[in-house]
């Protein structure tokens, strides 16, 4: 019943004080035990800092109506739509553009641009988004809490959130409901020494050769030579993210 006495109940105060101290310790403790180990070092095991993997997309060669690269990416990584385009995962997408002034039309494919300074990695609270030493930007699916802050931060809309349960996954890309994912630059191939992404392979098979994958750090690689001799651009170069994916004839 109600305590109408004006005398404070000291037992209750002690209990409250103890409870506050315990709660305080519980909230602060995890912050004190900080994991200082560099995540990118850990996750980059196998990656070689000598390389920086990237791609060059030739907009003139990207053929109207073709979806070979998209299909190949979906097959390679087990991306299956559920007939709900707004929530289905998209790692690579074709975009057709028209210059507002001149009317010139372009077609290109967009995917994770594998930035040197990726905004998704900056904003990720748990270090789930990370960049390997060879420049490939990935999501650690064991660490991702699904906050989607990276999707807000990515200037290229490159990321998808997994909106539903997955079945029949590909061994090339383990995925999980409630996590964020994007183009891995076919990291499983790179780590196996296959220097060709699924999208590039498909594009070449179709005879378009609009996609060129390679090592940006190797001056003798085809991609480096082409970049040196042509006038390529980065999308949203104004953000100074130094993207690993470049575009020709845009």
């Amino acid at each position: 019943m109600s305590n109408k006495s004006d005398q404070p109940n000291m037992d209750r105060r002690k209990m409250i004080g103890g409870a506050i101290a315990a709660t305080g310790a519980m909230t602060i403790a995890p912050g004190v035990i900080l994991h200082a180990a560099s995540v990118s070092d850990e996750a980059s095991a196998g990656a070689d800092a000598k390389h920086r993997w990237g791609m060059l997309i030739d907009s003139n060669k990207c053929a109207d109506g073709c979806s070979a690269c998209v299909d190949a990416c979906n097959t390679e990584h087990g991306l299956k739509g559920h007939g709900r385009p707004a929530t289905d995962a998209v790692w690579i997408r074709p975009v057709k553009l028209k210059d507002k002034q001149t009317g010139r039309e372009n077609r290109l494919v967009m995917m994770c641009q594998h930035c040197e300074h990726p905004p998704c990695v900056d904003v990720c609270p748990t270090n789930a988004s990370f960049k390997r030493v060879d420049g490939i930007v990935l999501v650690d699916r064991h660490r991702c809490i699904g906050c989607r802050y990276c999707m807000m931060a990515c200037p290229y809309k490159a990321r998808s959130f997994i909106h539903e349960a997955l079945t029949e996954q590909s061994v090339n890309a383990p995925r999980g409901k409630g996590c964020v994912e994007s183009c891995t630059l076919c990291v499983h191939r790179v780590d196996d020494g296959v220097m060709q992404t699924a999208c590039q392979e498909a594009c070449s098979k179709e005879g378009h050769d609009a996609i060129l994958f390679g090592d940006l750090n190797d001056p003798n690689s085809e991609i480096s030579k082409t970049l040196k001799s042509t006038n390529s651009v980065q999308i949203r170069a104004d953000l100074e993210l130094n993207t690993g994916v470049r575009y020709l004839n845009l």
Binding site: N3, D6, R13, G17, I20, T23, G24, T27, I28, P30, G31, L34, H35, V70, A86, T87, D88, V90, R93, P94, V95, K96, L97, K98, D99, K100, Q101, E105, N106, M110, P119, V121, V123, C124, P125, T126, N127, R143, C144, I145, G146, C147, R148, M151, M152, A153, P155, Y156, K157, F161, I162, H163, E164, A165, K177, G178, C179, V180, I235, R236
Partner: protein, 395 residues
Amino acid sequence: MSKMYYRELYCGTPARYWSGLALLGVIIAIGLGAAYYMEHNGHWVTGMTNQIVWGLPHVFAIFLIVAASGALNVASIGSVFGGPLYKPLGRYSGLLAIGLLAGGLMVLVLDLGRPDRLIVAMTEYNFKSIFAWNVILYTGFFAIVGIYLWTMIDRSVNKYNRTVGFAAFFWRIALTTGTGSIFGFLVAREAYDAAVMAPMFVIMSFSYGLAFFIITLIAAYIWGDRELGDFRLTKLKNLLGVFVGAVFYFTLAYHLTNLYITQHHGIERFILLDGGVYTQMFWIGQIFIGSIIPLFLIYSPAFEKSRWAIAAASVAVLIGGFFQIYVIVIGGQAYPMNLFPGKEVVESGFYDGQVMNYVPTLPEAALGVAGIAVALTMVAVGARVFKVFPETLED
């Protein structure tokens, strides 16, 4: 000044109190059920998509978190800035702040893709991420306000009240700066690329927090059948008027800056002129209901002493504030990012260049409302168990 006595709040009959708590419990249970439904099926059952990645739960969560830090202001004015009229309200201010933050965080966490990995968020920190900072700011807020309340309630530690009050005040400013900065540092999105977001969120918190405080204070004193003086309420009302005006000023500064920058004309046109539901929410919700009506109710001589006008102004501030956050969070995402300046998107496999449609679903709303219910439950239980409210607040 006569001595202030605090007493546990009893509102009417036990049946009324318990049925009120039961109602809140039902609302919370429905919200938790909704969260389970969304997590179990995945987010496709919500209105959220890969384009609108933060939906209605985020609006509720941010609204409550922002209001939480603002609710602490009354305590700060009392113990940090030495306002004697505010001092007796300090305990309730702290309790409300903790309640609102708990409600907001519950919604935020249950809307994560993997809420089960909360422990990862508590143990893995990327200090470049404002979210990671916020994890520390939010948990620290509970601890500091808890200690602050202790120094207010327990006479033996009352001598530390001012010091802890200072710490709490700076912490709450940091907290809202952190929340605002989530939107201030997103360089790619035109609606968010503005440093003014951080101070604007601070001032928004002053306004929403005080509105929550006033409305719940009036309700508690009516239910508890206690005296609440007009003079003290008028002080709070005038303060609310200043805060509402300040939010309006920051809104003006934000939009005028954007209107000057050619690159941002598209998003401004979208929000202010032809954004459909977002334009309506901005003008009718944020400006008319959230600014003009409360300013009229607060400053019109016709309502000078009207308690109902003060309550109505507070409710209008909260409704307007909710719309303001909705326009910032959802409106800012609905407007397409400009990946290719000078070019028009003819076709895209991922909605490039298109205004995205977002229709919130019932489970999202249920989870959000449950956040408010959590805040009110904590306040109702806290005020009943602890000596939070002064016996009388007559002038």
